[in-house]
Symmetry: C2
Subunit: 232 residues, 2 copies
């Protein structure tokens, strides 16, 4: 009777789209409830659409808030807790891949947060009471970004001095004083420009800190830097 395979794209036809919406929303809510029942876990789904007056939510506004609450709590704990060193070696090894996945996810979140903050600075987005991202995460992203900018500026400054000191570097220039500017390494500080801001600060060592975004509390900026809103 019908033969259309699912084309994963916005359905142009209005009534067709709405029909699909009704059916799939129903199916989705059913799936959430099944997952929750069968596996005994907390889950919620929220659908905001122009088709319904009120947002569709499962299991209920209060139930959803409970899940959200747990979600935020876990997020926070996740950031402050330290890896439990008393875990057995075997168990740790089993958890390794899980950790890896988590780290990857965090990196993605970090990238998204970064983009969001830039959109805020550019006036294309704004923060309100409810969409406010985790302050610690923002702090981390900001520090990463500033640190990277500073490193790059320092590198440029060093380069400038180098050129002044050796106006005609026809031969290979001697290694300049890099100790006072300390970009991680030449490749690291410039590679992937301009958006390599969320790279692991440690560089080589896969530090098993197990939590947070890898933010080191002792981290300091080379020198103060001020974001100039109007310049963007």
């Amino acid at each position: 009777m019908t033969r259309k395979k699912v084309t994963l794209a916005y359905i142009a036809n209005d009534s067709e789209r709405k029909a699909s919406y009704r059916k799939r929303k129903k199916g989705l809510l059913k799936k959430v409830s099944e997952l929750s029942t069968l596996c005994g876990i907390d889950a919620c789904a929220i659908v905001c659409s122009q088709y319904d007056a009120a947002p569709e939510v499962w299991p209920s506004p209060l139930g959803a808030q409970a899940v959200l609450s747990r979600f935020r709590k876990l997020s926070d704990m996740d950031q402050s807790r330290k890896m439990d060193n008393q875990e057995t070696f075997t168990r740790n090894r089993i958890k390794k891949t899980e950790e890896q996945l988590r780290r990857l996810r965090k990196e993605n979140n970090c990238r998204e947060l970064e983009a969001f903050m830039f959109r805020c600075i550019a006036g294309e987005a704004s923060i309100d009471e409810f969409n406010m991202p985790d302050p610690a995460e923002m702090n981390f992203v900001i520090n990463q970004t500033l640190g990277d900018i500073n490193a790059r500026m320092a590198a440029m400054e060093a380069d400038r001095r180098r050129r002044q000191a050796a106006p005609l570097p026809l031969l290979v220039a001697p290694a300049p004083a890099e100790e006072d500017v300390a970009p991680r390494t030449e490749e690291e500080s410039m590679e992937g420009f301009p958006w390599n801001l969320v790279q692991s600060p440690g560089g080589g060592g896969e530090a098993v800190d197990g939590g947070g975004l890898g933010w080191d509390d002792g981290m300091v900026l080379p020198y103060p830097y001020i974001f100039n809103h109007s310049s963007m």
Copy 2:
């Protein structure tokens, strides 16, 4: 090969449940993303389980918060806006059933909120920064509850006076002075005791206020009443 129909109940077997969890979680997230893409709407899903270290969330923590933000905003708007009387008659009629459904949903939410608050009072639950229900909703439920209690107490008081005034009511007693206590009606105030607290306050008239929980800002309590925590 297989022929098991879905049994909608908690899966007892551990590994079986976990396997099902992985598969269904994947399927669920796919469904959300499909719904969102195909119909161009905002949706999010959050799954908190003991199987994953971090909560599983689609589309991303920030994306989910955006939907949540919209969800809360819509909830709030929903409560304060008034029905648009300029809608065409036909369109209104089409919307009627939708409204009915919404009201039913609200009633359910109200019941759940009520139960939640009682659990709070009983010390079986508590409110924190993130699971805090909408203050206006709480206010409404509390006022409903208190109003109902007061009405019932007033009815009992009237009954007591009636008995004192007519110690031997062998014949039908004359109507007592009910004007000063004003329970809605005799049936309404006692019917469904003890949990008819969320009934529509208007009683007969299906007021098309279209928004909120039906809370009337002019609502006043017959007299002050104090919740005694230790008595519960």
